[in-house]
Symmetry: C2
Subunit: 242 residues, 2 copies
């Protein structure tokens, strides 16, 4: 078992890495679509909603728009996804849209996440470094028993990954050197941005994040410091006892 005494904190991508957003969102989208007699596949709708995620954040990363939290972007993206399916937004009460928007607060962890995080927490500081806002992360953690030591991420530093500021400001808040912090993610792009800022990197493979036909992020695209099959495997590779 490796030891890695230099690493003091692990920071985690959440959507896809710690929790299964696609099944969780589709689970709440399904009854919503049925209630409104809309014959749309909930998984396709979840994918359409998620496709708006990167462009919406890019407006803020580019400086064209001031920072707003992800709950706001998710609600706007929901409207865009509905419009793409020709759904009349004005026919749906705003409370119902807010309730659906909170599907992102109610995502289930992958089966290994809680046990793996509990093992990692005994040796390291653990915190989300997600683009999700603080309240979203708190609701998710309370529902799913994710044992975070703190909620870090986009809203704390008022910037979205993969902007370098997110990684460097987080390292500074933790009072550590970049190499003392390890970014954990199921996405090569997130790890590449973290490595550029000097952080250690751990790739956790999540081959069904995007469903059974997933094409991306099935393999590491660089020689990351750690590659793990799930969160328990990562705990083992970082020397954390079961």
């Amino acid at each position: 078992m490796a030891d890695h005494p230099e690493i003091k904190a692990l920071v985690f991508d959440v959507f896809g890495t710690v929790v299964d957003w696609r099944n969780g969102v589709a689970r709440d989208v399904g009854p919503f679509l049925s209630r409104h007699a809309l014959a749309i596949d909930p998984f396709e709708f979840a994918d359409a909603w998620r496709r708006e995620y990167t462009p919406a954040m890019e407006e803020i990363r580019s400086g064209r728009r001031p920072f707003v939290r992800l709950d706001v972007l998710h609600k706007e993206n929901l409207a865009k996804a509905m419009a793409a399916y020709g759904i009349d937004l004005s026919s749906i009460p705003d409370d119902e849209l807010d309730e659906l928007n909170h599907a992102w607060h109610r995502l289930d962890p992958w089966p290994d996440s809680v046990e793996g995080l509990l093992r990692l927490k005994r040796r390291f500081m653990i915190a989300p470094l997600s683009n999700g806002n603080i309240r979203l992360m708190v609701d998710m953690a309370k529902r799913a028993a994710l044992p975070w030591d703190a909620i870090l991420g986009a809203e704390v530093v008022r910037a979205y990954k993969p902007s370098p500021q997110v990684y460097t400001d987080t390292v500074e808040i933790l009072g550590l050197k970049p190499a003392e912090v390890c970014m954990v993610a199921a996405h090569n792009g997130d790890l590449a941005a973290a490595r550029q800022c000097g952080l250690k990197t751990a790739f956790v493979i999540r081959p069904t994040e995007h469903g059974p036909a997933q094409q991306s992020d099935l393999h590491p695209t660089q020689a990351w410091d750690f590659v793990a099959s799930d969160m328990n495997d990562l705990a083992t590779k970082l020397g954390c006892p079961t």
Copy 2:
């Protein structure tokens, strides 16, 4: 047992309310003074160090100085306290000063704090709303098993209590209305500032925070929404089962 369904989140002052800073700081100051053959009472030194706390933050609250985290102010305040005792700062290695400065990361909770917080956490979101920085709060929580749902406070909003911005920005981050958030503190001044911003208020009496001869904050100075003798009593008054 009261119910209070309107309250969704409890935010806590920490130094004095959740943890006993005076005994904790004196415990680390004692060996430091002995090592340097300084005949100073560790409790008096802790009090002198703490006396620099409010003036240091006032520089930032007033806008005369940009925000810096409390670890930085504590270190500067340590130098001031040492100077007041005529201690030659240049005679002490900087690593040793940093180590002593981290006494604030190693404070013990009052005997009722952990049990009370665990009860409150089952019903409410709970987070520190302290002037302490994020890393300080994380170190303290990991050592003392404080079960926070998130680390909020000065560093997240980049302002120091009792500036109104600290309370209002925190309410906004929580996605709540002010009356859905209750400030918990052993200090009437903190509660008065929170009430001005529309938050609910809970006074927890800590009659020995400043030692056996404490004169301040022995009684509520306004009719706070809740007055409790300790954190367990607060949990009972907020309707949380044991």
